[in-house]
Symmetry: C2
Amino acid sequence: MNTVHQVPDLSRLSSRIPAAPSIGSTTVTKPDHIHLSFGFAADSLFPLEALEQSAQQAIRQDGARALQYSGAPGPAYILDWIQSRAASYGIDAETAQILVTNGATQGIALAAQLLLEPGDEVWVEAPTFFSALQAFRLCGASIRAFPIDGEGVQVDKLEEALIAAVHEGRPVPKLFYTMPVYHNPGGVTLSLSRRRQLADLARRYNFYIVEDDAYAELNFTGETFISLYELAPERTIYLNTFSKIIAPGIRLGWMIAHPLLVSRLRILMLGSSTAVFTQEIVAHLLKQLDFEQHRAQLIRHYWRQRDIMVTAIRSELGDEVSFELPEGGFFLWLTFPDQVNTAEMQYIAERHGVSYVAGSHFYHDDSGHNHLRLCFSYCTADRLTEGISRLAAAYREYREEHLHQGVDSYSQH
Amino acid sequence: MNTVHQVPDLSRLSSRIPAAPSIGSTTVTKPDHIHLSFGFAADSLFPLEALEQSAQQAIRQDGARALQYSGAPGPAYILDWIQSRAASYGIDAETAQILVTNGATQGIALAAQLLLEPGDEVWVEAPTFFSALQAFRLCGASIRAFPIDGEGVQVDKLEEALIAAVHEGRPVPKLFYTMPVYHNPGGVTLSLSRRRQLADLARRYNFYIVEDDAYAELNFTGETFISLYELAPERTIYLNTFSKIIAPGIRLGWMIAHPLLVSRLRILMLGSSTAVFTQEIVAHLLKQLDFEQHRAQLIRHYWRQRDIMVTAIRSELGDEVSFELPEGGFFLWLTFPDQVNTAEMQYIAERHGVSYVAGSHFYHDDSGHNHLRLCFSYCTADRLTEGISRLAAAYREYREEHLHQGVDSYSQH
Ligand SMILES: Cc1ncc(COP(=O)(O)O)c(C=O)c1O
Ligand SMILES: Cc1ncc(COP(=O)(O)O)c(C=O)c1O
């Protein structure tokens, strides 16, 4: 009986599952290829030695309990750490308001499941994080997006749409998903006045804000903003992750929300704790790591990387592209002339040995054809520079081939 | 701003979220209390030393990659291990058919999300695993249950219900969830003829079987059965876990299904891999562990534990209870006289210093009042014996207080 040849009845599956992943992983495996597409942390900064010691301590000191369903003291230590860290940026939460998740990715999925029924409205930023789009689609949500600019999402447009929805008797959103700092992919940060306006709208129009703060700790300038959670705690589900400050492979993130919401979220997790063994290891790690020093090191590194990429872009692509200078995080969001289709240019770029993420992946309606996302966090400095010069060469080739044929050849895309 | 005092608008939450967890965790923390309720592995058998070495190796040999999103060679090694282990019990699957999950719990949740839309029918065994009931409720499914006996679920009754549904134009289930070996809580194993009949029904009535094989490796007798997956591979989503053979705290399980289903399941996981760092560690562990010897040790231990518990029950509770003798797994399912309400008796049992799980938790309609689940895997041998004698004392007290008042006093429950 060959299992592969008997095809299952796909018509019986939930109709809400998209047929394709939110983003294809690259198939390029050539060693010299430069992946400016990967939104990965710099692995040279992973605290490997401390982690090795932590794993040993976790197993030796409390192995049997650490490996049971509910774990040893580690998970409680992590809650305390998150609580005091959150307090340091102005979020006042009890540990009963904190839920440790399998990364912020699970946080997004849980927030979606907590709130959404098929047909519900979800409003997002344009562009937005592709996995969030996918999570909302999986709940059968109807998605609408609002443009960002240098100050983050244009909250005025959101307000207009809310007024219109109420006026026309159409539903307002159940949730608004936002990345208020160092936006993925936009790189921008939401201004204080827009934060206040957004918090106010959430209250007046009865929706929840899902605040994805994944890059919050990677702040290059030191300028901080009051969080949406702080402005509207009963209206906000706050998400963060260890992926950008420790390592993504540990798969630990957290949510902060009202205790009544957290108890519902626990039900969604079927009473199952997030990997307590990993939590135990990370608890030992956080005990021995000088976090402020570690964070300073990360910031120094990513800041320098951003500058290297920006310098290369200015010299190689000059006036052909525009972008907002990100004050933290991992990403640069390039805007090319309107006739450029970055999904099409991608094939040429891959031939030149460089990858990026085409803009359309960040839009629920596949628009954004003339944008692309570059990541400055993962590659080494010389690869960043070389990557940008490959990208510039690819763009020149693309422009040569396509843009001189006039605008007509684009209408079919 | 005190976050706890501003209450969120719960009316905006998805209506499918039950207000209560599937099972409350015990609040008894007295050190002498005997938790026959906990379905935990015996932690004295966790391979702690090998795990410590494995963690060290994983970090030293491949730390940077192991901690990125997609990991080092570990996840591929684990797929190979699962593939060959599955082959050893007759399941022929390519690695593209295997998906590593956060325990079998996530496997159940993913299978539910893959198939179900609100209002869909899910049919289960009565009793069944409480987290599965919760997962199906969270998808808005309509649940119906079919009784088990000494040979597993009564497939004849399932067939009658299918015939009636078709006859009356009512929907047949999207999925049937079953634990064919060493059932939790029933302890029973599905007979070969019923397996064949069930596989045949799945084909004829166009539903999927979710085969939860969590205890498959803990087989005391050596008698094996052909899996439902093998009988109907295109109709079966197979689940298993490392929780019972390595440790639950690592939170790793797996699914085996047709590649077309697995690719949809990956989409449900939002493209996120299951904790690759843990996978890397477990890969090193599986390389150095003599698994057959480890498994033999587990079996010897759990088998002896079962016998100790059974001996104690026969001597302490004698004819008052009946049960099927489990040929593997962790659980004994006791049936008391029909007038007994185990949820009520629980308070007395706790006073006597022993806990169990009341039968009603395993029924979607809270029936099963005269059953209870005991777990023989977790407590040490002398605690098992002492636990049963406390249970018997609690039962005597309960009988004294309640059963002599006649049946009337039960009609209100
Ligand atoms: C904005 C944002 N949210 C969430 C995530 C996912 O984080 P995690 O690794 O914690 O799942 C990412 C990672 O790329 C991200 O950029
Ligand atoms: C039948 C059954 N399925 C699944 C599970 C959950 O297993 P995991 O620890 O892999 O999530 C259990 C654990 O109690 C179980 O008894």
